[in-house]
């Protein structure tokens, strides 16, 4: 997996999936449509200011609440390259890996960073650096099984290969 470099948007603890994509927009599954309302109940300006390649950083328990996969899809649809949080709620964690949205656990990064800081993630080395502040954090590498899912491009291509006996 290639290093990911981008400007960050910062959020706090316990960002729930209702805030990531409010239920009033769940009458569609189109990532581009969902992206128009991504994070708007936490920061109404987010959909307008987020740029492709940006990185979301946040505190603990990111993605708690509803199982809606529309949440990571909205983030991915908005062009966000990765999410780094102190911890993730478990369904969001699975969903992000399954749809191929890179996510990383790095306690302390969000607290030490400010919006607009430049962040670089080295997935294979398990290192995340805030280039603006010259601070480095560790992130645990994914277990080989999850790396397999991500290498295949998500759970669907992974299971499709498995069904054909290619894995």
């Amino acid at each position: 997996m290639q290093p990911i470099r981008g400007r960050c948007h910062k959020f706090g603890d316990d960002i729930d999936t209702d805030v990531i994509i409010p239920a009033r927009y769940l009458n569609t599954t189109d990532p581009q449509e969902l992206a128009k309302h991504c994070m708007e109940d936490a920061d109404p300006a987010f959909p307008a200011k987020v740029k492709p390649g940006d990185i979301i950083i946040a505190g603990k328990n990111f993605g708690c609440g509803s199982s809606r996969e529309h949440a990571p899809l909205a983030i991915k649809g908005a062009g966000v390259a990765a999410v780094v949080a102190s911890s993730f709620a478990r369904i969001f964690y699975r969903n992000a890996i399954n749809i191929g949205l890179p996510i990383f656990e790095a306690p302390g990064l969000a607290e030490a960073s400010e919006p607009g800081d430049e962040i670089v993630i080295y997935p294979e080395e398990g290192v995340i650096t805030n280039l603006t502040r010259n601070l480095t954090f560790r992130t645990a590498p994914f277990p080989p099984f999850m790396q397999g899912i991500m290498a295949a491009g998500g759970l669907i291509p992974y299971v499709a290969k498995k069904l054909k006996g290619e894995v």
């Binding site: 316990d14 209702d18 239920a23 769940l26 009458n27 599954t29 109940d41 509803s66 809606r68 499709a160």
Partner: protein, 419 residues
């Protein structure tokens, strides 16, 4: 080393003699569930897999309950897509007028039993832990693969053992116990873990009360919540569950990451303040909070016992002139039973709106959306920012007794204040 009930169910379904926390396993599932919001995405992903048939039509359940009866054209299109897929695949499907809120409906229909491994594309799938099943929420892509292969991958969770002793106070129910517990654990206190509910207060609790508690395990971040199977469980499933089931119990030397004990006799009715379920307070410490709306229903508290408690408080009383009270029975059968017991008349005479089963207002879908600055007391499960409508509205979570009392007083109130 002994195993917990959660570990035993996972081991059995993975075809292993034993498993331990942290282990990644591939397990056979007994049932896969989705609703009108999560199924359309799951169906889209299912088609991408290149398979034509679900693994077993009798083990896939689709329930249109979130934006139904449909609130707008887009949600009608989504529901139509789910309906057509259900017909094409011959899976278990409940139409409007015969359906219910999924987590009230599936146990009632006998589709889940002790020892089952259930995945659902809905975070409150953990409700079925009340029956001694391992049940957990997943996303639509996981569900698509589960529908295709009948399998799902899991990381075996550590288990937190919760023990409740003592006798419950009047008007205290499963909702108060679980809110109190979430207040203690925090919204991520059980992240990636299993919660095992035990103790004499749990044994005394009705099945409806246990469903309420298991339902909100996810609000502490838990993967699943699970209850011991006892006479009450067996009585509940008798005549309902048609598939063979297996009762598992935790070994005496099972490993737990943590054990917490609660004196249930000291727990008052609870209210969770905005905007997290962990912001709990005793009803005696709530203060003067004026409200605009009360919702009694949802997969958390839309069952018979909840409606009976609400009716006991509302009988012969009137809803406060400045409050809208919305009552939503969880299933058509619960609705019919409430009608037969005269509860619906009590609600209507009190000035409540009674609705057909729907998740509606709980997730800010329809049937009771809040305007800017409005406050609601709800027997639902989440009080996040914007959960029931405008991002500047507020939801206070409580059990049906506090909700009904609050509807009468026009502010958050204890049941004793109106009786």
């Amino acid at each position: 080393m002994g195993m917990t009930v959660t570990e035993k169910i996972l081991a059995f379904h993975a075809g292993l003699k034993e498993v331990e926390p942290g282990q990644l396993i591939n397990a056979r599932i007994d049932l896969a569930l989705a609703n009108d919001i999560t199924a359309p995405l799951a169906i889209k992903e299912f088609r991408r897999l290149g398979v034509t048939k679900v693994f077993d039509p009798q083990r896939v359940v689709l329930v249109p309950d979130h934006f139904t009866p449909n609130k707008d054209i887009k949600s009608a299109e989504q529901a139509k897509l789910v309906r057509e897929f259900a017909r094409e695949q011959g899976v278990i499907y409940y139409e409007i007028g015969r359906m219910g809120i999924e987590h009230c409906l599936l146990p009632e229909e006998g589709l889940v039993g002790p020892g089952d491994l259930i995945v659902g594309a809905d975070s409150h799938t953990c409700t079925y832990g009340a029956l001694g099943a391992f049940a957990t929420g997943v996303g639509s892509t996981d569900l698509a693969c589960a529908m295709a292969t009948g399998e799902c991958w899991f990381k075996v969770p550590e288990t937190i053992l919760l023990r409740y002793y003592g006798k419950l106070r009047p008007w205290v129910g499963g909702k108060d116990l679980i809110l109190y517990t979430i207040g203690d654990l925090g919204v991520d206190g059980a992240l990636y873990k299993a919660l095992e509910f035990t103790g004499e207060a749990i044994a005394e609790l009705s099945m409806d009360g246990r469903f309420t508690m298991a339902n909100m395990a996810v609000e502490a971040g838990a993967k699943n919540g699970i209850f011991p199977v006892d006479e009450k469980t067996l009585e509940y499933i008798r005549g309902r569950v048609k598939r063979p089931y297996q009762v598992y119990t935790s070994d005496a030397d099972a490993r737990y990451s943590e054990i917490r004990e609660y004196d249930a006799s000291r727990i008052e009715p609870q209210v969770a303040f905005p905007h997290l379920p962990e912001n709990t307070r005793n009803i005696s410490e709530v203060g003067d909070i004026k409200i605009d709306q009360v919702v009694i229903g949802s997969c958390t508290n839309g069952r018979m016992e909840d409606l009976r408690v609400a009716a006991k408080i509302l009988r012969g009383k009137k809803v406060h002139p400045e409050v809208r009270l919305i009552i939503i029975p969880g299933t058509q059968k619960i609705y019919a039973q409430a009608l037969e017991e005269g509860l619906i008349s009590v609600f209507i005479e009190a000035g409540a709106a009674v609705s057909t089963p729907t998740c509606g207002p709980c997730l800010g879908g329809h049937m009771g959306i809040l305007a800017r600055g409005e406050r609601a007391v709800a027997t639902t499960n989440r009080n996040f920012v914007g959960r029931m409508g405008h991002p500047e509205s507020e939801v206070y979570l409580a059990g049906p007794a506090v909700a009904a009392a609050s509807a009468i007083k026009g502010r958050i109130a204890a049941p004793e204040e109106v009786l």
